[in-house]
Amino acid sequence: MKDTLQDIVKHTHSLGFIDLVKIVGDDKSTTIDAMAEDRSVVVKSELKSPVPEFAGTFGMPNLGKLDILLKLPVYKDNAEITVNTQERNGDTVPVGLHFENDSKDFKNDYRFMNAEIVNEKLKSVQFRGVNWHVTIKPTMPDVQRLNFQAQANAEENVFTVSTDGDALKFKFGDASSHAGEFTFATGITGKLDKTWAWPVAQVTQILKLIETNACEMSFSDDGALQITLDSGMASYQYILPAQSK
């Protein structure tokens, strides 16, 4: 349980722009949905091994608090984390997590958000789908180079992506400002005809997780970027709508 929760928090809250996830589960699957408040990132995920206790629909709010609880040294070893349930309208639904240390003298309860409220606050969205024109598997050095440019162009909120032959190029700024450009990947197949802009902070935060995840990035001329991270416990899809005026 703890590993699963840590994995969820790491791939959502730790990015800095998500504080609520919606869990929908049954005995066959456990899915996770989240969205940045400014709609810059939509997260969809499914755990590889469903958590049977996560049956139903509920929200995990205040993920910062859950993050703290999971990191408390007192819960590091042999802590027990259980799902609290209640009977509601004849169904048994998860309502929170109960933390208890090894010696049973240190406890915390973390409350879930009920289905009605989480459905209001985090409306389910369906991706209409696009054609992915370029797909790459970025490496740590690629991400490092992206971070260098992001640092050097800290005033830029977005960067643009284009193809040049078999090279995928990222560009910061333009002729009216300081600017920077670098080749993010080579040997690509496919071509981008439109130069869309993508949010620097969100992309770099997601790509930071590449250290512990298998990663794939797909770009579409239809104005979508998808980053897929496989943590081993779950596959997380981050879909970013392009930024525009």
Binding site: D38, R39, S40, V42, K123, S124, V125, Q126, F127, R128, V130, N157, V158, D174, S176, S177, A197, P199, D222, G223, A224, I239, L240, P241, A242, Q243, S244, K245
Partner: protein
């Protein structure tokens, strides 16, 4: 101190104080009854309460002929005597000019309930009829009854109006427009309100609604100008794109589409940039073109106990009209010190710029209640102000705001520049020069290219609300294209 602000207006974009119903009530009611007792009226008010009526050129303490008044808080029954409305109902139309706001905001907020997307809904229809009749009866220009695109994000608005999407907001606005066109008397000229929360939506809204201003499609009933709402009113990139589109679509023509209004615009820098735009369009395309912009800040500030005290227009800095909490102290109830002097003495601010309203006003004229005095409802409140204190300071704040707008323009004309309108990071880029270049060309593609070239610069010109600054670039357009709510 300028008292005739109409004369001082010159060729600047015209600020319209969005007159509050509270303020108008004092002026209107006093015209037929002793709503405010004579003894309560400050001695410096040479024409009693009417001294606050800036639309009255002979009796106002200062004169300014332009303003905005909203149907949203007016008595719309034109067949019923309503003294509180008389500031507008009985104004001299030859010496004043009023723009009527339609109440689209009230619809958006869910105050005016009805199924606005259903042309047969009796509640919506009644409001539609009464707003149009009110506009035709009392306003020189009026806004059409638009349903703002943001209603789709307003839970109260959604519930009260039945409108849940941008598409439905467009449909409902269309219904209102058709009705206004068919039934308008011609006495009031109408501004076609442009909405949209980003460039894509704003472009779409314009494409759908521009026909209502087209004399070719509606030779006798077309609307008479434009009003910029939503992202259109706060994003200068979008403003310039739209103006170029209007020009080349033949919808910014002399004598036909002479007015463009910017809703809820309070940034002082915008007073000068809108003048730049007005001048450029007048010079190169439509000599009658007039930009107006409104805000309710002078009234809202007073309601929050704030009073304007200073205008700041330092070269290459942020330009502001400064407002701070006013004096409000029961121990001043017998203090005959000049209001300005008492304000400084009490440590509210280091200086106070007098207006024709406060010139001669005493501290006790505002701080009316002494310790132990009971207010109108027979209780001793915390404040020393009575309701007329608010009206007095609203009058002062109105003068200050108009004067600030005009002073900003005067300083701008003398070479001082607000920081927002100049960029000297690499080259010297001045807003007025770019605007001149955009409108001096007769080639639309050249004008569009200039606007696009300065796409980043436009983000440094911050608007009053909406997505401004760097937030003008965001995910909203593509999110709407890529996802649907299920």
């Amino acid at each position: 101190m300028n008292t005739n602000l109409t004369a001082e207006q010159k060729d600047y974009a015209v600020f319209l104080p969005a007159v509050s119903g509270f303020y108008a009530t004092f002026i209107g009611k006093q015209q037929s009854t002793e709503y405010v007792e004579t003894a309560r009226i400050p001695k410096n008010f040479t024409h009693g309460v009417e001294s606050l009526n800036f639309l009255n050129p002979s009796q106002g303490q200062f004169q300014y002929k332009w303003c905005l008044y909203s149907a949203g808080h007016a008595d719309l029954d034109i067949n019923r005597d309503s003294p509180k409305e008389d500031m507008f109902r009985k104004r001299d139309r030859s010496t004043s000019w009023a723009l009527g706001d339609s109440g689209g905001f009230q619809i958006g907020k869910g105050v005016w309930e009805g199924d606005w997307k259903d042309p047969t809904c009796p509640k919506a229809q009644k409001k539609r009829e009464s707003v149009l009749a009110w506009m035709d009866a009392y306003m020189d220009y009026g806004m059409i009854l638009d349903i703002p695109a943001w209603v789709a994000r307003s839970p109260k608005g959604q519930q009260a109006t039945g409108i849940t999407t941008y598409e439905e907001a467009c449909q409902a606005t269309n219904i209102n427009n058709e009705y206004f066109m068919k039934h308008r008397s011609g006495a009031c000229k109408f501004l076609n309100v442009l909405q949209g929360e980003n460039h894509t939506e704003a472009d779409d809204w314009y494409d759908r609604m521009k026909k209502f201003c087209d004399p070719k499609q509606y030779p006798d009933t077309h609307f008479n100008g434009w009003s910029m709402g939503g992202q259109n009113m706060c994003d200068i990139h979008l403003v310039l794109k739209r103006l170029v589109a209007l020009r080349f679509d033949g919808l910014l023509e002399k004598g036909t589409h002479d007015f463009m209004h910017f809703l809820g615009t309070s940034k002082l820098e915008w007073a000068t940039l809108l003048t730049d735009i007005q001048r450029a369009v007048r010079k190169h395309h439509n000599p009658n073109f007039t930009v107006t912009f409104d805000c309710a800040s002078p009234f809202l500030a007073t309601a929050n106990g704030q009073v304007y005290c200073q205008v700041e227009t330092e070269d290459r800095s942020k330009w502001v009209y400064r407002m701070v909490p006013s004096i409000d102290d029961k121990k001043l109830a017998t203090d005959t010190t000049a209001f300005a002097e008492a304000f400084v003495r009490e440590g509210k601010h280091e200086s106070f710029l007098d207006s024709p309203i406060t010139d001669g006003l005493q501290a006790k004229d505002v701080c009316i209640y002494a310790p132990g005095d009971l207010n109108k409802i027979g209780k001793e409140g915390k404040t020393s102000w009575d309701s007329f204190s608010y009206a007095i300071l609203m009058g002062h704040n109105v003068w200050m705001h108009i004067n600030a707008v005009q002073e900003a323009n005067r300083q701008y004309d003398q070479g001082k520049i607000p920081n927002m309108l100049i960029n000297e990071t690499f080259d010297r880029i001045m807003f007025r020069d770019i605007v001149e270049a955009i409108f001096s060309t007769d080639d639309r593609s050249v004008a569009d290219a200039i606007i696009q070239e300065y796409s980043k610069y436009w983000m440094s010109i911050i608007g009053t609300r909406g997505a401004t600054g760097k937030k003008t670039v965001n995910a909203s357009t593509q999110f709407n294209n890529l996802f649907e709510e299920v």
